[in-house]
Amino acid sequence: MSERLSPEVVAHVAQLARLDLTDDELALYTGQLAAVLEHAADVEALDLSDVPPTAHPLSLVNVLRADVVRPCLDREEVLAMAPAVEDHRFRVPRIMSEPSAQPSSPPRVPTSGPPGDQNRALPLGTDH
């Protein structure tokens, strides 16, 4: 069992991945991830200090095209598939947290919308 893989570490990883886990899932994944990492110990043990990494099977180069307008996805067709839309934009729940009531809290970062605006729209892109 990997000593690094405590439930606390797994909970932190879940938070990084924006994945809410139940306590049961946390326990299950802690054990299962440890088993996979244990199998990967053969790789971890190799001395590969002189070996360069391979990130991709091809030698990737930037692929550019002429900067000309060409057909793209239909905006209404795209927005029709979104969970919530407002003014031709994706609508999402509040992005900034409510300010703390304590006087010692740091100054609130200004936001563009009125307080209590829970579903500010996120711009889809710039209009032509």
Binding site: R18, L21, P52, P57, P83, F90, V92, P93, I95
Partner: protein, 482 residues
Amino acid sequence: MATAVELAAAVRTGTATARQVLEEHLARIAVRDGELHAFNEVTGDAARVAADAVDARAGRGEDPGPLAGVPVALKDNLCTRGVPTTCSSKILAGWKPPYDATVVQRLAAAGAVVIGKTNLDEFAMGSSTENSAFGPTRNPHDPSRVPGGSSGGSAAAVAAGFAPLALGSDTGGSIRQPAALCGVVGVKPTYGLVSRYGLIAFASSLDQIGPFAASVEDAAVLLEVIAGHDPLDSTSLDRPAPALAGQLGRGVAGLKVGVVTELTGEGIEPEVAERTRQAAAALEAAGAVVREVSVPSLTYSLSAYYLIAPAEASSNLARYDGVRYGLRTTGAEDITEMYGATRAAGFGPEVKRRIMLGTYALSAGYYDAYYGKAQKVRTLIVRDFATAYEQVDVLLSPTTPTVAFPLGAKTADPLSMYLNDVCTIGSNLAGHPAISVPFGTGAGGLPVGVQLMAPALGEATMFRAAEAVEAAARNLAPVEVS
């Protein structure tokens, strides 16, 4: 049953109509897909419109294309405009893509008729098609067993005669492994040969779309149709696609074949190992020069793969956040809460496991030990394959360690499921082509597949060897293992 090549010839010459061909396949689906669940959705109405259009072109004296009127099943991670594309995940349920994948456009241009979208392990993560949010697919040879995965629906559809051809995607064996378990041909092409535009990404440096077919020739024809440069995929190889079907029928005299030492011993079921030896003997009898070749670093390929693929997946799947498409849970106070709750509700257990594994492997403090090391192992594998291909033209191994296993047999132990991919993932890590060809049966009379691998863009040679194996398979006796 007629091959795709025979069906297309019949439609082009007017001895059959695309509509007749389609209705025969829809009738087979109606009889048996309730039991097998190869399809997430059968697109019968759209297929009838497409088939009638092919017939109209043929009637006007136009050439409707090399796959005229041939029904093709598509893995449900290939985008089809206006037709639900789910990746067998709740997080994409109901989503209709606003565009077609490049392979879908190329199929239409070749006269093929898309007959439906096939089931898969959620986001192509799995080796049994049991990780589908819509329930498992069953193996047509024994419905109590899995079809393999992740492209299990596509493999089962071809094996059951629901479609002569299908497309899947292969990240670590997801075409070849189910092809082997269902007794059909499955091909993972050279990385970059087939455009990934419109393939919903799992692990971008490993994913490749490829054919399922009932014969090597059909697979070659389908690969020719979908291969070739696409400006919409920046990793698409900018060179002419190799001619394949026309290269068949040349035999294997003088071809150098290497049997991979590391993939023929421990962990391989005796019947499967015996079939692989018989395939080597058959190639030798057909004039090939067969020897054993070592690819030592393949020993580490499974570990490297299960760090690299989840790492890439954890990044690719970050886009499922409830903002632009698919599921969003309601009631969240702010966007961070919405992300976590939506992803928890939308992803199944295996996808969550891989997101966790990949996020861990990429996180500060562990990156060098896991992801960094795995990338270096990938270099070793590329080097070892290069050394092997200095000695031989193609490599031979089993496709899978075992024949099809019962549903539920490996779901409780993810690592035992991952071991299914031990023979196939090396080709993905190196970006090389590989094919699984049915070669008799093993334990329980279930299909066995043998794998032929080749260096990058070595498809033509690989198909020649596959054709010889396919010919030898017609004369096989039941396997006996003492």
